[in-house]
């Protein structure tokens, strides 16, 4: 502590400063969220991760605008950019030029930049929605198992054990191969995306559920729960007003750390051909295709690879920062 190590001690010094600040700002209390935000702001690495995450989200949201300004439609063929003999892009670095920022795809000559930008949409959409789905299920079942205990807990815990032991990758590949082309008004990639979200989320909830259950088990023994009961509070009040606010922090942390895992899952499934259908761009699918040309056109592999790497790294750094900010001592 005597020799400040900048980033590593940032969280600690933040906590000290917060305590020192309080008397100056009388009356208005500092909520645990405000304190966490102060800590997060001092964690430069996490902030950098957060900025990248924000940038990626903006790219995904404004993909059509970005592509119309800087690239070509993602599914447009440009055979003139392809060497007809080898099927590889003409020019060095995978056909990079001011017109095609990251070069063109082998064989079809589609714009790699545009496909990458549109691929971000798929990756983030699947990752976010699957995480939300998993968190929703995990929170509900975890809190029920933890609070009620007994046979309810035993039943839910066994279901979670089964799901955790389930070979989910094989299951998803098998499931996707039997999916119909259109379902409930969705068709083509829509069905695939929906299936990915549901399946990744469904196999993800036990991880959240276990954490929430464990936290609930310890929180329900706190005296403030007894205090609420001694005031005449019912179950609903205790679950939602007393316990849930204390669970939001671990849930938030787990959600931010779950998103990069889901990005990887989606990429892996698309790589294996169980993801979105071909014309729709996705990072995993681009990698899958790139593996066939990695000697002739390594650039095509680098673009989606770096995109996945940067996304996962940024989310992980941000998630770690959020965890440190919300939970500096690993307790409370």
């Amino acid at each position: 502590m005597t020799a400040p190590l900048h980033d590593t001690s940032a969280a600690e010094t933040a906590a000290v400063d917060v305590a020192a600040d309080v008397p100056a700002k009388a009356i208005e209390g500092r909520s645990p969220w405000k304190i966490a935000w102060v800590r997060l702001k001092r964690d430069k690495v996490a902030l950098a991760g957060g900025v990248v995450v924000l940038f990626l989200i903006l790219v995904a949201v404004f993909a059509p605008l970005i592509v119309s300004a800087l690239g070509h439609p993602p599914n447009e063929f440009h055979e003139d950019k392809i060497d007809p003999l080898f099927g590889t892009p003409i020019g060095s670095w995978g056909g990079m030029s001011s017109d095609f920022l990251l070069g063109v795809e082998p064989v079809n000559g589609r714009d790699v930049f545009s496909r990458l930008v549109y691929g971000a949409r798929i990756s983030l959409l699947v990752a976010f929605l699957a995480a939300l789905f998993a968190v929703a299920l995990g929170t509900v079942f975890g809190i029920i198992a933890g609070y009620f205990g007994g046979w309810v807990d035993a039943a839910i815990s066994r279901v979670m054990d089964v799901l955790l032991a389930f070979p989910q990758l094989l299951f998803i590949i098998a499931l996707v191969s039997v999916l119909p082309n259109s379902l409930w008004g969705f068709s083509g990639s829509g069905v695939r995306i929906g299936a990915l979200i549901v399946v990744i989320g469904f196999f993800g909830w036990p991880y959240v559920g276990r954490i929430v259950r464990g936290q609930t088990l310890s929180l329900r023994e706190r005296e403030y729960v007894e205090a609420a009961r001694s005031l005449g509070a019912g179950r609903t009040y205790i679950l939602f007003k007393e316990l849930l606010p204390n669970l939001v922090a671990p849930i938030t942390v787990y959600t931010t750390l779950m998103i990069p895992t889901n990005v990887l899952s989606e990429a892996a499934l698309s790589f294996l051909g169980a993801g979105v259908k071909p014309p729709t761009a996705s990072w995993g699918q681009m990698l899958s295709k790139a593996k066939e040309y990695y000697e002739a056109d390594p650039m095509f592999m680098i673009a989606p690879g770096v995109a996945i790497f940067v996304t996962v790294l940024a989310f992980n750094l941000f998630g770690d920062g959020v965890r440190d900010a919300l939970d500096p001592k690993g307790s409370r």
């Binding site: 009356i27 209390g29 500092r30 706190r222 005296e223 403030y224 005031l231 005449g232 019912g234 204390n246």
Partner: protein, 370 residues
Amino acid sequence: MSETKDPDVTIPEQASSSPLSPSTEPLLKVSGLVKHFPIRKGVLQRQVGAVQAVDGLDFDVRPGETLGVVGESGCGKSTMGRLITRLLEPTSGKIEFEGQDITHLGTGRMRPLRRDVQMIFQDPYSSLNPRHTVGTIISAPFKLQNITPEGGVKREVQRLLELVGLNPEHYNRYPHEFSGGQRQRIGIARALALKPKLVVADEPVSALDVSIQAQVVNLLDDLQDELGLTYVIIAHDLSVIRHVSDRIAVMYLGKIVELADRKALYEAPMHPYTKALLSAVPVPDPRSKHKRERILLKGDVPSPISPPTGCRFHTRCWKATEICSTREPALTTLKTGHQVACHHPENAPDQAPESGPASGSASTGDTGKV
């Protein structure tokens, strides 16, 4: 389950002891209160035993008084507190509050009564929700009971904060911004919000610094005078109990072994266990140190899963005789007003030799135990 029958026999004795104050109707009347926590094992969750945390308590609490409850850790005093506030479901026995039987009331039926019976908790770090502001914490009673106090909730909360000696401007602060003593005051404000008649304080100061303990104890005292509260204070600190209580109940392994007025109990303890406890209180006078007779009890408190037969204290008692291990002494009132459960009480003629034919009611009750 012979114990459950035991209390029925002792009820008339309890009644016969009340002539001490026949005019006042007890605020809380407890008879034969039992709480056993089942121990379950195996796939089928069969019950293989029970922790006999509280095993037959008889006492009453009179309006306006402070009843102190002392005993070692694990003697069941906190369980007793949670039973009379109905946070736990009694196994058997009866709890009457203002004449109403509240022994097995459900959450909904109990809710209106919660206004009159409140609880102060032991650990001020765990009894306040860290995600709620002080305002939310103290106004929770109004919200849960659907009451709008005069002048609005905020005004009332600020009044309560002032009452317990906190700055009413700190309405929007969070518990982590307060010290242990201040947090305990917040807990007290919450307990007093609904103007209860009976406040059960479970080790209200044991988690606090000694210098703060005095402040909180005095605050409780002042509030009692101001608001006419009745307290049941559970503690293991004999000096705190002596300071606050009017009457004191000493518990050992799920039973009350002695119940007497403060003065009588401290000056002439009747039960050997009480005497041993009192001898352990440090005397802040080095000169009288040599004169003190320090009684060191041997061994540990026996397991409440299989308590000793007869008098539960006989395994550690220096006065124990044959009868103590075979026959359970009932809580009987002696001439001095002491209620003692002992065959060989201190400072009093031995009960045991004459207990055979003379006090028939006690012995018939006890034989069931063996």
